[in-house]
Symmetry: C2
Subunit: 277 residues, 2 copies
């Protein structure tokens, strides 16, 4: 086997670790791959860890023992997070976003994988220290955010559906009253998509009164799941809020259809202040 | 500004390039970040490029000129792709997947971000040499695959919906007859979610007769979009196929409900054979 130079090893190890967050890679796998002693691999990992930490990009976590190895825990620094939030708020304030009826067009933001990836990384940073078994969202718009978050947490995704499908097998269904429009809505989750007793993180794109999140929380109770937290991209003011404890990245305070202006500010992320360096 | 050592630079540059596929980073940005001459940066990039190419993980592409820079084009090697396909086929053959009525439960696979990411990388490898402006899918199950593919292609995502929503603004809607059940189904796409004349890649989780893909193709014609290709995770035999040209990763040949067996084989990916080293 060809012996690798340190420079080449550093590039390859960084790539392998970063491409699969939370995946445990045994030191022996690296030693074999590069034809190098484990002591050299450890030195390489120290270099990688130092750079990641210094840049606020995450950390390498070493697990010792026979089933041990090293894994990458992604994070986003406070400075970088502020940059993402400023960009998001700037884009949200674009008056072309106003739709008839005072609704906001968000599909361009949700259709931008680079933005979604960064938001997922922010949500994952908030819960990096906690055990999360699954990220849960409701179809359709929350799905990309849920995957981006789950990728950075190394967990699976379970998608709550508005109707039950024949391709989902046995499902649990509840009916809930929506927060703003007082309509009855159905929430379904396939039995096998979530283990009983899971600790879950709820992710969604938009929250007003919180009826959708509340519906998910009630449905998750049927799975004896513990809700570790709720993360939304955008919140908007509501007379009565059905969910008290949540993180939001941006807040759309007012949409003035006549003057075509949107008042946007940062969400409660930094005010709640957990998990940022 | 602190001058970085080459080892630290290599780790940081690899991270920045790999985390945002297709994003063009000017050499000056690196030179400034590391307090280093552009010539050293070029040497670093050569090392990174060599390692990526040797591992079949992609390449660095340099764009010269004032608006130039370097970007990461991800790929997956044929050997790695075979590994992903073997894993996928193995998981598909699990008899616990059989649902009443002979349907297949796929949500566990679609809920696994690591698998989805790898599949997105395979789809992106097939179209790495082509201009793709957007990845298009239909809600709900194709969404994660579309995002994973778009991430690796550096494009946006447009999601076709089964009903039109007030939060999407002006939409284009068509009605189409489904391939297998001969029911009429509606396909809608927000006007602003796709520029006229875009070159798009269609991605979906499952294809039988191809009625869903056909519906998307017909809808996309209304946007004067050019369909560059169709990629599905799983195909299953159909008496009559409404789509001729597509890539599939796996093929479910037969589901025997009585003996509880599923016959699975590789899809047509390697038979069509484009883009793999």
């Amino acid at each position: 086997m060809k012996k690798w130079r340190r420079s080449a090893r550093l590039v390859d190890m960084t790539r392998l670790l970063i491409q699969e967050p939370h995946k445990l890679i045994p030191l022996g796998t690296f030693a074999e791959r590069y034809g190098t002693a484990k002591s050299s691999i450890s030195e390489d990992l120290d270099i990688i860890h130092e750079v990641l930490e210094a840049q606020g990009a995450g950390a390498l976590e070493t697990v010792s023992g026979a089933a041990g190895g090293v894994r990458f825990i992604p994070r986003m620094s406070r400075a970088q997070t502020e940059g993402v939030l400023r960009d998001l708020c700037g884009r949200l304030a674009d008056p072309d976003r106003i739709l008839p009826g005072g609704y906001l067009y968000l599909s361009d933001l949700l259709g931008d994988p680079a933005l979604i990836r960064e938001i997922g990384r922010i949500f994952a940073t908030l819960f990096a220290e906690e055990r999360i078994d699954a990220v849960v969202t409701v179809e359709t718009k929350g799905i990309p955010l849920a995957y981006a978050t789950a990728t950075h947490l190394g967990t699976s995704v379970a998608i709550v559906r508005r109707d039950s499908r024949v391709t989902e097998g046995s499902v649990v269904t509840i009916n809930a009253v929506s927060g703003s429009s007082r309509r009855i809505r159905t929430f379904s989750l396939a039995r096998r998509s979530l283990k009983e007793g899971s600790r879950v993180l709820i992710v969604d794109d938009f929250m007003k009164a919180g009826g959708t999140v509340r519906g998910m929380v009630d449905l998750l109770a049927e799975f004896r799941a513990e809700v570790a937290g709720v993360c939304v991209m955008v919140e908007s003011p509501a007379r009565e809020r059905l969910v008290d404890d949540y993180f939001s990245l941006a807040k759309v305070d007012e949409i003035d259809v006549k003057s075509r202006t949107i008042a946007v500010s940062f969400g409660n992320l930094f005010a709640k202040g957990v998990g940022f360096q």
